[in-house]
């Protein structure tokens, strides 16, 4: 039994022994499964990384064009200096490199030595050097001068650059300098987009790097050597909706204004096509040069801080919300008309203030505008009228429209950092808030949102999504993406929109705004808001104009933030900028002038009306329109003119002006007797009597007047036509 017992124990212990080993083996199988099947791809990638050497082929970054195909951002090939410290073995080699490169690259010898003595096989020495420097370095690397002649041993002495090589890289250039800088943005040292279009469309612009993969053969030639080549895919080109000509007008006008008004808070302009939402120009002040975005001014002694730079790179149009002020009255007005709570002629009264919710809110004209209506209230920019209108519209409707005009959400615009203004929440939106919001105070919107909303006022009532990228085209010229205008929703009826255009035009004309452009029919509204905290004398003046008013093609919004000049009103600061931009854009668009007032700048001109003016005034007006004048008759008042007012004529054409007494000018005239007279005599008599001659019958040298209509002595209105029939006696 003892023996059996011993045998059983031995068998059990052998079994236990086997179990211990088996369990360890099962654990190890699990471990191998984990390494191969779960972490396999990770390890494989890491292994491949060390087994192969990759040389990157940099793709060409896409070009950014304006809508006319003008280059705004281009990439050029430049050289970058790299070192392979593994190859640089001898001390002399390293010192040669430091001695040679130091003066060429303007680097400290010690810094270069530190790089080439590193334990690695790849180090950057200097990125993106200009062609002159790279030519000097290339000379020593290849041992040949520019003409391909071998350098002598003596020339190469002390310039052993083994281990140094030049690789192709691309550098971004911006031909326009600061043109549309906030829109285009710029790239970093690795060609990655950092701001603006360069950042947002980086994935299109950057392309795909190609590479040459070779087995890592630092240990000699091995049978497993291989090489694979992957083509680089150049980046796509971006075509913007920006028109660089318009952008230039805007930049110039804004430069002048920024200087003149010393706007401490900056300034910005947005020009759009209200019928599509396309951005035609967008500019912000202060600005910067895209080719050196980190330099704030040429005479700066210290590098700018990141905060300063980011402040400088802010695209105010998109990221800065402001209180729109009275420009917003246009929105309130359209709501009132659309909801038919009032019409243009319903009587309102402005006593100079209005008590709302126990608070006295003043009109800017504290003496009051007196009897008014919606149209006059808009022209006068009268707050009490608008507060009364707003109370008729009511809180809920205001709220609804605020949303539908797109003020509560981003426009989905394609530039970085788009902001949404701040607004009350429904519960805090009471009587007072309703009243002040009617004239654009107490809440903020971005310039982009404001322009989008005003676009809906004039284009038939549609809110369009603003966009700045027209299309994306790949390096072979195939269209990758193309933006079509997006109608977000209809906010207003066509009738309301038509009325709004009339109101805007009337407002611009009747208020005698500086935003007017002679010869063109445009509409607009100014706005001024006091910056928060109130009472510091900081204001934002803005102006929004639209032209041509009957078929709006251009919408221009100008904002001058905290001007320090003589006036801070939008009508005084922003309006002239809008006028200057509009004038140039309209001429650039070759829009025919057809307004009452014609300026002498174009080849064609329109004859002004001078009837009722004094002779002196008439002469001055006519000459100011680049016209000559002949004066007939005598008296102190112009009683007729030929051709009549509104006729298009060439510059320097003659205008006949007939003078008479002021009594004559108002009275009827008796038709003189014209029978039996020569044509010349008839002509003179008719002109002198303030009538117009129509010749009938025969013509020639010796014809006389045979008949006349009306007959002599009949009283007719001044300027009426007299038909005289001539014939041979």
């Amino acid at each position: 039994m003892a023996r059996d017992n011993s045998k059983t124990m031995m068998r059990n212990r052998i079994l236990a022994f086997a179990l211990i080993f088996l369990s360890v083996i099962v654990f190890l199988c699990g471990r191998i499964f984990y390494i191969q099947m779960i972490k396999g791809n990770t390890y494989k990638a890491m292994a491949l990384d060390q087994q192969t050497k990759e040389k990157e082929i940099t793709p060409k970054r896409g070009t950014i064009y304006d809508r006319n195909g003008k280059e705004l951002a281009v990439s050029a090939t430049v050289d970058t200096v790299v070192a392979d410290p593994k190859i640089i073995k001898s001390k002399k080699n390293a010192e040669d490199i430091a001695n040679t490169l130091s003066p060429i690259l303007g680097m400290e010898k010690a810094d270069i030595l530190a790089i080439v003595n590193k334990e690695s096989s790849f180090e950057w020495v200097a990125k993106k050097i200009d062609s002159e420097k790279s030519a000097q370095i290339r000379k020593y690397i290849s041992g040949k001068d520019e003409k391909g002649n071998k350098l002598s041993k003596k020339e190469m002495e002390g310039h052993d650059l083994s281990g140094i090589s030049l690789i192709e890289d691309t550098k971004r250039f911006y031909p326009g300098g600061s043109l549309a800088s906030h829109v285009i943005g710029f790239t970093g040292t690795d060609n990655q987009g950092l701001e603006g279009i360069e950042a947002i469309y980086d994935k299109f612009l950057k392309g795909n790097a190609g590479k040459i993969v070779t087995s890592n053969k630092s240990t000699g030639s091995l049978p497993q050597d291989y090489e694979k080549y992957f083509n680089a895919q150049d980046g796509d080109n971006i075509v913007l909706t920006i028109d660089s000509n318009i952008q230039r007008f805007v930049e110039k006008a804004l430069d002048d204004a920024y200087l003149k008004y010393q706007a401490l808070g900056g300034a910005c302009v947005l020009v759009t096509n209200p019928n599509t939402g396309e951005i035609l120009a967008m500019a912000t002040r202060p600005t910067f040069d895209l080719n050196s975005p980190r330099v704030l001014s040429t005479d700066q002694s210290e590098p700018a801080t990141l905060e300063q730079l980011q402040e400088r790179w802010r695209n105010k149009v998109v990221v800065d919300a402001y209180e729109p002020g009275s420009v917003f009255k246009l929105i309130t007005c359209s709501i009132a008309l659309e909801e038919k709570v009032t019409n243009l002629t319903d009587p309102y009264f402005c006593p100079g203030y209005l008590v709302v919710g126990g608070q006295k809110i003043h009109c800017f004209k504290t003496t009051g505008h007196g009897a008014s209506n919606l149209l006059k209230g808009t022209v006068d920019s009268c707050n009490p009228v608008y507060m009364q209108v707003a109370s008729k519209i009511g809180k809920d409707t205001m709220f609804k429209y605020f949303k539908s005009f797109g003020f509560r959400e981003t426009t989905g615009f394609d530039l970085p950092g788009e902001a949404v203004g701040s607004y009350w929440n429904y519960n805090n939106y009471n009587e007072t808030e309703l009243a002040t919001s009617s004239f654009g105070q107490g809440f903020t919107v971005t310039p982009l949102q404001m322009a989008t909303a005003v676009g809906a006022l004039v284009n038939g009532g549609y809110l369009y999504k603003p966009f700045i990228v027209k299309e994306i085209v790949d390096s072979e010229g195939n269209r990758v993406e193309s933006t079509t205008p997006t109608r977000i929703r209809q906010v207003l009826s066509k009738e309301t929109s038509d009325t709004m255009r009339y109101i805007m035009q009337t407002t611009l004309v009747e208020s005698g705004s500086l935003a007017k452009v002679d010869g063109y029919e445009i509409g607009g509204k100014s706005g001024t808001s006091e910056k928060l905290p109130r009472g510091n004398g900081q204001y934002i003046g803005s102006y929004c104009s639209v032209a041509p008013i009957n078929d709006p093609q251009i919408l221009c919004l100008v904002i001058i933030d905290d001007p320090r000049g003589a006036s801070y009103y939008g009508g005084q600061t922003a309006a002239p900028v809008a006028s200057s931009i509009m004038e140039q854009v309209l001429q650039y668009y070759k829009v025919q002038p057809n307004g009452d007032q014609v300026k002498a700048s174009s080849d064609d001109t329109v004859i002004p009306s001078v009837i009722g003016k004094t002779a002196e005034d008439a002469k001055r007006i006519v000459s100011s329109f680049a016209l000559q004048c002949t004066i007939y008759g005598s008296g102190d008042t112009v009683i007729s003119q030929d051709p009549p007012a509104g006729t298009h004529v060439r510059n320097n054409s003659y205008v006949s002006i007939t003078l008479g007494t002021s009594a004559d000018a108002s009275d009827e005239v008796a038709v003189p007797s014209l029978i039996g007279k020569s044509m010349e005599e008839v002509n003179t008599i008719v002109a002198e009597s303030g009538l117009t001659l129509k010749v009938a019958g025969a013509s020639g040298g010796n014809v006389i007047s045979l008949n006349q209509n009306p007959v002599a002595g009949k009283k007719v209105k001044r300027g009426s036509m007299v038909t005289v029939t001539f014939g041979q006696q």
Binding site: A2, S6, M9, M10, R11, R13, I14, F17, A18, F21, L22, V24, I25, L28, C29, R31, I32, F33, I35, Q36, M37, K39, G40, N41, T42, Y43, K44, M46, A47, L48, Q50, Q51, S215, T219, G220, L222, P223, Q224
Partner: protein
């Protein structure tokens, strides 16, 4: 040792254990293919001869098989005689001490001695001798003696202690561990009282840790075991490269001969890290195949031990099983970064002459035990088939 000795002498042996021989042959052949694949690139680069290690391994394998066959013909009772054991133990002990003083210096460890132009690692034959010695001692002990502190514990601690003295001089820690496993597993199976071992285990463990940590070379390797990626170019280098190789294999591997990691990344890929190359070239399938071969081997060995004619045979068989399986397990732990990197070959597979030669010689002993198994000897032997069966 005054107990009567009962030799069960047999003039005729049973037939050769074809199953065990097949498993061994498959492993050695598989190993040859992998040694050829793993070493080709570095052999070409270093010696200008891509077949160098393959040829060496082939010669050692042939010699090993001859040794295995010859030993299988010798009754293990003759080998496990006191005289033979004393002579054998004496020789390997002295050789190990010699290696410690005049041996080649590799990473601060002296494990190799050169005899007649061939490098030899005396600890390899020492492992076989130690198995035979321990098994003999244990099989001579009475059951009651094995339950005592002196007989069942102290005896083995002394055997181990004497045996590891030269290894400590050589700073050959991995061999120490193998020695300890051999001695204690034989004592365990032989019926030693476990309570002394359990009591001693914490002391031994602490001692082991202190010993490993006292040596910066070893302690760094242990630290890098926990995260070899902390120092992928230093102490973690081999583990990281091995993980890359294993991970690259995936399910089916890169294909035979297509390892990338064998190209100058894994140092001497034909030696201790041959399993990594198998994983890389043959994938998870290949790795499981190798492991299955060892599992089959273990089962076959246990069967031989169970059927061995006496306790000496059982213990020698289990000692040899421990020798192969513990080296296998430690090797896999090392290459999968589950244990500290230590020089441990994969038995039958790794290149490195001494290990393969003495492993195969040890297998000869196993085959002899198998030949004398209760089953085989009981089988009637037909005279006509004799020649065939006796090879």
């Amino acid at each position: 040792m005054v107990k009567k000795i009962r030799f069960k002498r047999k003039n005729t042996f049973g037939m050769l254990d074809i199953e065990l021989l097949s498993i061994i042959s498959i492993m050695v052949l598989f190993g040859l293919v992998m040694v050829g694949s793993a070493s080709s690139v570095s052999a070409l680069y270093k010696y200008g001869d891509s077949m160098l290690f393959l040829r060496k391994q082939l010669i050692v394998a042939l010699a090993g098989f001859v040794a295995m066959y010859l030993i299988s013909r010798v009754d293990y009772h003759k080998i496990a005689s006191p005289l033979m054991i004393m002579i054998g133990y004496g020789i390997v002990w002295v050789l190990m001490v010699l290696a410690a003083f005049i041996g080649e210096d590799i990473n601060g460890a002296h494990r190799w001695i050169t005899i007649g132009g061939t490098s030899l690692q005396p600890s390899e034959p020492a492992k076989i001798v130690l198995v035979v010695l321990t098994a003999y001692v244990c099989s001579r002990q009475k059951k009651e003696a094995l339950r005592t502190f002196k007989g069942g514990f102290l005896t083995y601690v002394i055997i181990l202690g004497v045996s590891v003295i030269p290894l400590i001089l050589e700073r050959h820690k991995s061999a120490c561990i193998i020695f300890a496993l051999l001695v204690f597993s034989i004592a365990f199976i032989g019926g030693a009282n476990l309570k002394y071992y359990f009591a001693a285990a914490p002391v031994a463990l602490v001692g082991l840790i202190v010993w490993f940590m006292s040596d910066t070379y070893s302690s760094n390797r242990i630290m890098s075991m926990f995260n070899p990626f902390l120092d992928p170019r230093g102490t973690g280098y081999q583990a990281v490269q091995s993980l890359y190789a294993i991970g690259s294999g995936g399910l089916f591997g890169l294909g035979l001969g297509r390892s990338q990691q064998k190209i100058m990344y894994i140092p001497e890929p034909q030696n201790d890290f041959i399993f990594s190359i198998i994983c890389e070239e043959l994938g998870f399938i290949g790795a499981i195949g190798v492991i299955m071969l060892f599992v089959l081997f273990m089962f076959r060995c246990i069967k031989i031990a169970s059927e061995a004619p006496d306790k000496l045979g059982k213990l020698i068989a289990m000692g040899l099983t421990t020798l192969i399986m513990s080296q296998f397990i430690i090797n896999i732990m090392v290459v999968t970064a589950t244990g500290p990197v230590t020089g441990m070959p994969l038995p039958f597979f790794s290149a490195g002459g001494t290990n393969l030669l003495f492993t195969l010689a040890g297998m000869g002993l196993l085959l002899n035990i198998s030949r004398q198994s209760v089953k085989r000897v009981k089988q009637p032997v037909k005279t006509i088939e004799t020649k065939k069966r006796y090879i």
